[in-house]
Symmetry: none
Subunit: 203 residues, 4 copies
């Protein structure tokens, strides 16, 4: 009993700190954010934070992980099993809408997910945003499915096409989550992206 309660309390505290960290990191970025900023936001002593996270980097890692988990749910509900261009189109719309909705609900997440780059890593892979990579992999599955089923171009370079499509979706998300982003604007983006995906730019 005691354990359950305390485990829960610890989890709640970790979550509170995580949320404050998301706010602060999204406002100031990794380097400009200080542990004290996070503690002040929660009106707790800064030493307290170290009871829950080993160090600043660990907090940031937790932030990134938590965002990725949130994003992952979107694709988990969308298996690569559509059977026609129309279905595929609708699926892309659903995915975009849910992503946009996540980022609109919490603009802090958008700023981190879309621009997170704890620099100084020579490792190229790290320079590619983790959230981008996550979606790229999934989109590629959709591509494979579409080509297999025959409703997508067979000559497609699936890996590359997936990354291009991902970049389009992310660009939409950026626009949707950063700018004023009323419903009208969002649908303008969504419509345009679908049109390009389906038929390109040509007249």
């Amino acid at each position: 009993m005691v354990n359950v309660a305390s485990v829960e309390k610890v989890a709640r505290r970790k979550e509170e700190i995580l949320q404050a960290a998301i706010t602060i990191f999204s406002e100031k970025g990794y380097y400009s954010a200080s542990i004290a900023d996070i503690a002040n936001l929660l009106k707790i002593g800064h030493g307290t934070i170290y009871r829950y996270y080993k160090n600043k980097q660990a907090i940031f890692d937790a932030v990134v992980t938590s965002i990725l988990q949130k994003l992952a749910t979107v694709v988990q509900d969308e298996p690569p099993e559509t059977n026609s261009l129309q279905e595929y189109k609708e699926q892309i719309v659903r995915i975009s809408d849910r992503l946009i909705s996540i980022f609109q609900d919490d603009q802090r997440i958008a700023r981190i997910a879309l621009y997170e780059t704890p620099e100084g890593n020579n490792d190229t892979a790290n320079h590619v945003s983790a959230s981008f990579l996550l979606f790229s992999k999934f989109i590629q599955e959709y591509m494979r499915n579409g080509v297999d089923k025959g409703f997508l171009r067979p000559n497609m370079d699936q890996e590359i096409a997936a990354r291009i499509v991902t970049s389009m979706i992310f660009e939409t998300i950026k626009a949707a989550s950063m700018e004023g982003s009323d419903e009208v604007l969002v649908s303008r983006w969504r419509d345009e992206i679908i049109q390009i995906m389906i038929g390109g730019l040509g007249a």
Copy 2:
């Protein structure tokens, strides 16, 4: 006379510092890079740098500006005056190739242009990479021209389509400048992007 010589010398010194800054910032990122790193690379006293730039931020601003100028030359040579889808396609290829070539010649520039960071700006606009914005504006001109001339879809949302296309191009550039990036890979990307732009993904 003396003045001319000295003005030139100052300009040369500023340029040397700029180049060193590009190297250091691209390797370490804004926050992890130190003024001393830049000075050491040039084997000059780090106090000297402050005779040419007001402070660290000013150096970084100069770096970004210089990169933008370099990128701007690409579009300056490509007026929005193509007359057919084919010509347009060829123009996009030329632009992509020149951008890729710039970034391959100087990978330092790529890392900064594509991931430029000093975050912590509440100003939303700043979060959109300056180089991205620059191209977006130009691409939009190409779109307008294409729609006006009738070889691009009239129902196109030009501003949005421009940003989507820019995102595709930049994704290509990232791939080209970061990854192994042999000629074969680059043309795979270029081909795919053209196909999507022209005819979408559909079979």
Copy 3:
């Protein structure tokens, strides 16, 4: 009744903490040892320790006191009443052996007794190890007895000779408790110290 039981329990707890403290302090030294280290060793909450000791310094004081008490038993059993150089020699051997045995039984005690540290005391006297002082006083009594009985040099400066002899004994103890310290090594030290005490170094 209840009181007796509880008093006993408190004493037992204090002793447990003391033992853990001896272990930790001997391994890490005063400053590097943390209250949490001691608590963890006992698998108790670190707050609990403060119910038994006022603060960290008080624990260390108790440690030193406890060690001194242990060492004191050695000399308490050896009254300064020997009647010949031979008896005296044998007494010194007994004392050394018992000290060595204490320190070999519990190497933790050796590390603390011989190097006890919380420095930063301006008080000069504190710089002399408490255990050293304890023995010095006793050895001086042996000296007095020996001179009185006529088997030790009458021109001896008893206080000083006592400290010199103590330093020899402690050096032996250090060697015995720190280094490999097999029985052979210990007797080499003991033999040499006796020889020096009795007849010096000369041929």
Copy 4:
């Protein structure tokens, strides 16, 4: 020229900091001493210290090294070449006197050299004061010489005897440098140690 001057200035500054560090470390001990303490003593910014020493440990290492160098000069002037017990005795007196003089001139050095124990090292060797070890080695050479020349006991365990004698000398030094230590007291110690070394304690 410029270089020579600057090298000299750097050396002087390092020396100033070293001296301040010796003062502070001797008063407070390694852990209780803070970089700020040292800087305040010199009335300089604490950041300045890091221009001359990598970190706190490096300062302490320099302190220990400097003390050891000072001590080493004492034995360097006293080769193990005496030819009689009398000469040997005189040599020991000279060495003791010079050591005592060093420590009396600078009591700070004494406190560090005689009680320095940067704890937390499991490595046994480190626990033995470096200055003690240094002298031990030399004294052993004197022993060997004395036994070879026949004026010291042939059955002597040279290594052990050397450490025992060193401990006597160091005890003398402690007394001389810590306590009131007028000339009279010092000679009482010196006389007693010589007597013990030569003829032991017996009547």
